[in-house]
């Protein structure tokens, strides 16, 4: 099969022009965190939700808010607390005494970008309501079903240091997030710049440079990014190695992995790799795209055994070993 790669490349070049504008605008407010911003864009372009893990104060909320501002989209932040109810997220039907009828009051989920702060602070029923909406991209309030807006991106945060009084997300629900990001501290220079920028009288503000329509067109273009069967096989090899490490010469990992990644991992890795290639303004996927995004797609999908936990071996280390071992095409 011959692909008109020139045409694809030209289209991708055109549709990805806004990427630089977004990163420039976001860069006015957020110092560093290039990795996080890039992953947020990947999630946005490939319809994948993101779970962010990092200690407080790493500009997670600000990054999402700024990204939203650059795209002229609606942004909502939901602080998850133990007393939160599903209706507080999706909305409810209220009785209007004046008209004597019921009307729908939509919840904060009817936004383009949603930041679910500390998602593990709410009970399972609230988490389920959000995760169901993420999956179905529609919610039912009373007897009416409403489609959620497009683009629709949920960013949930978890604090890795406080586990008391939390409701850890079940593995099946964690699997619904396309990426799980581990956010680290900025380096010394970045910290200095953050301090200077945020202590000015007028803090910088990002301007809207992209319309939601641009994003929708870009999402369509991402689907057109060419992925060669060799790359597809490479992705499947990586995912299969999480399930049957012995078959890939990773005998030492077989005792450390309880459950490998699901087929959803293959789908998400393929989509995320396409989006990564799009961000690089390339019309085809290379092994670099897969390797760059592989850890973020797989780290929450591989469940390690008690033996691994006892030896303090994390799922991230296991995935890293797999990615470094599988031969690139």
């Amino acid at each position: 099969m011959t692909v008109d790669i020139h045409a694809i490349n030209a289209k991708i070049e055109k549709e990805s022009e806004f990427i630089d504008k977004i990163t420039t605008e976001v860069g006015k407010v957020i110092v560093g965190q290039k990795y996080m911003i890039e992953r947020l864009l990947i999630g946005l372009l490939s319809d994948g939700h993101i779970l962010l893990e990092g200690v407080p104060g790493l500009a997670k909320t600000m990054a999402v808010k700024t990204l939203s501002a650059t795209i002229k989209t609606q942004f909502q932040r939901i602080q998850f607390t133990p007393d939160l109810l599903p209706a507080d997220i999706v909305g409810t039907v209220i009785y209007e005494q004046k008209s004597g009828s019921f009307s729908v009051k939509k919840g904060p989920i009817f936004s383009n970008l949603i930041l679910s702060d500390e998602i593990n602070r709410s009970p399972a029923k609230v988490q389920s309501a959000l995760l169901e909406a993420m999956q179905e991209r529609q919610v039912t309030i009373g007897e009416q079903t409403f489609k959620l807006p497009d683009p629709f991106l949920v960013l949930a945060t978890q604090n890795p240091i406080e586990q008391e009084g939390t409701y850890p997300l079940p593995e099946a629900q964690v699997d619904r997030f396309m990426l799980k990001l581990s956010i680290g501290y900025p380096n010394r220079e970045e910290e200095l710049e953050i301090m200077r920028r945020m202590t000015r009288l007028q803090t910088p503000v990002a301007q809207a440079v992209v319309s939601p329509e641009d994003i929708l067109r870009a999402k369509k273009a991402v689907h057109e990014v060419y992925i060669d069967p060799k790359i597809e096989n490479y992705i499947v090899d990586i995912v299969f190695a999480t399930r049957k490490p012995k078959e890939y010469g990773l005998d030492d990992l077989s005792e450390l992995i309880a459950y490998g990644a699901s087929p959803r991992a293959s789908i998400n890795l393929s989509m995320a790799a396409r989006a990564h290639a799009f961000l690089r303004r390339r019309g085809f996927v290379t092994p670099e795209d897969v390797r760059s995004i592989g850890l973020d797609v797989l780290r929450h999908r591989v469940i390690v055994t008690y033996e691994a936990e006892a030896e303090e071996i994390t799922a991230e280390e296991v995935v890293r070993k797999i990615i470094n071992k599988i031969e690139v095409p």
């Binding site: 099969m1 011959t2 692909v3 790669i5 060419y226 060669d228 060799k230 790359i231 019309g283 085809f284 996927v285 290379t286 092994p287 670099e288 390797r291 470094n324 071992k325 599988i326 031969e327 690139v328 095409p329």
Partner: protein, 317 residues
């Protein structure tokens, strides 16, 4: 008178008893002169002997002068209680004491205990004749005792030695066998390496390239050819320069070449080739025979240049 007769009778009876008693003390001793120029020593070397060991009873006769000055008569074995003779021997020697020659004759008996308790060696009479005067004299030993105690543990040194020798022998054989096997393996490896060394790695890769891609083949799959070229180049860099293997991406490989200060010309050449190969491999782009031919030529030139030293990728670092 009667009183006098009574005293004489009593005195006579006492005298007769005394004479009889004195005569009965050494009933076997011959009536011989008691003068002697010989010194007699009779002793046991160990007074305390375990039941499973032997004691040594020694009779030593020594006199001043020549050895043939006296003639020692043969005597019977000593009478023993709770002991038995397991061996005996005798020896003569002459030594000098303060310039005077002294003759020594020694008799030894190995005595084996019979039961735990006391063992005794009864007195022994030894007769000898003075060869100068031809007068015979007796000598007598004392009664000696030996205490027999519990047997001690036998060490069976013989068995231990035999086992040790056997074990050492087997170990030596094993070591020898392992050494011979290792040597055989080392020789085989050396031979293999010698054979490999004969064919340089560049030539091996050139031959492999020739086998894998036949430019004259009308059904040549250009896309597949690029895959082979890319793999061969990456494997070559891995084997020749310890660069990351096939599990690394092209950019990781370039990073390695930069970090290890390879020559810019070499890095650029490799980068061009691998970027081109990646484009062909992953973009689905059609490729014609000329592209493949050009790529094969470039790869061949890398192998040739490395082989003939025309290219020194590591520069002058």
């Amino acid at each position: 008178m009667h009183e006098l007769m009574k005293a004489l009778t009593t005195g006579l009876i006492i005298g007769v008893f005394c004479a009889l008693a004195l005569n009965g003390q050494i009933p076997d001793r011959p009536n011989l002169p008691q003068q002697s120029g010989i010194e007699l020593k009779a002793f046991v070397r160990q007074n305390l002997v375990p039941q499973n060991r032997t004691a040594e009873f020694v009779i030593q006769l020594s006199w001043a002068g020549r050895l043939d000055r006296y003639d020692i008569h043969a005597f019977d074995n000593p009478i023993l209680q709770n002991l038995e003779i397991s061996g005996s021997g005798s020896a003569n020697r002459v030594s000098s004491e303060a310039g005077v020659p002294t003759a020594i004759r020694e008799y030894t008996f190995q005595l084996k205990p019979q039961a735990i308790g006391m063992g005794y060696i009864e007195p022994l009479i030894i007769l000898y004749t003075d060869n100068e005067t031809q007068i015979q004299y007796p000598l007598s030993t004392s009664r000696l005792s030996i205490q027999v105690i519990d047997a001690i543990r036998e060490r069976h040194w013989g068995k231990i030695m035999a086992w040790s020798a056997g074990f050492l022998g087997v170990a030596a054989l094993l070591v020898l066998a392992v050494w011979m096997m290792n040597r055989k393996r080392a020789l085989a490896l050396q031979k293999e390496q010698e054979i490999e060394a004969v064919v340089p790695i560049e030539e091996q890769y050139l031959a492999e390239l020739k086998r894998a891609i036949d430019l004259n083949d009308p059904s040549l799959d250009g896309n597949h050819a690029f895959l082979i070229i890319s793999k061969l180049l990456r494997r070559f860099l891995h084997e020749k320069f310890a660069a990351p293997g096939l599990e690394a991406t092209s950019s990781e490989l370039f990073q390695y070449l930069y970090e290890h200060k390879f020559e810019d010309v070499f890095i650029n050449n490799v980068r061009d080739m691998l970027t081109m190969a990646d484009l062909i491999k992953f973009s689905g782009k059609s490729v014609d025979r000329n592209d493949v031919s050009l790529m094969v030529t470039r790869l061949e030139s890398i192998f040739h240049n490395c082989l003939h030293g025309a290219l020194n990728p590591l520069g002058n670092r």
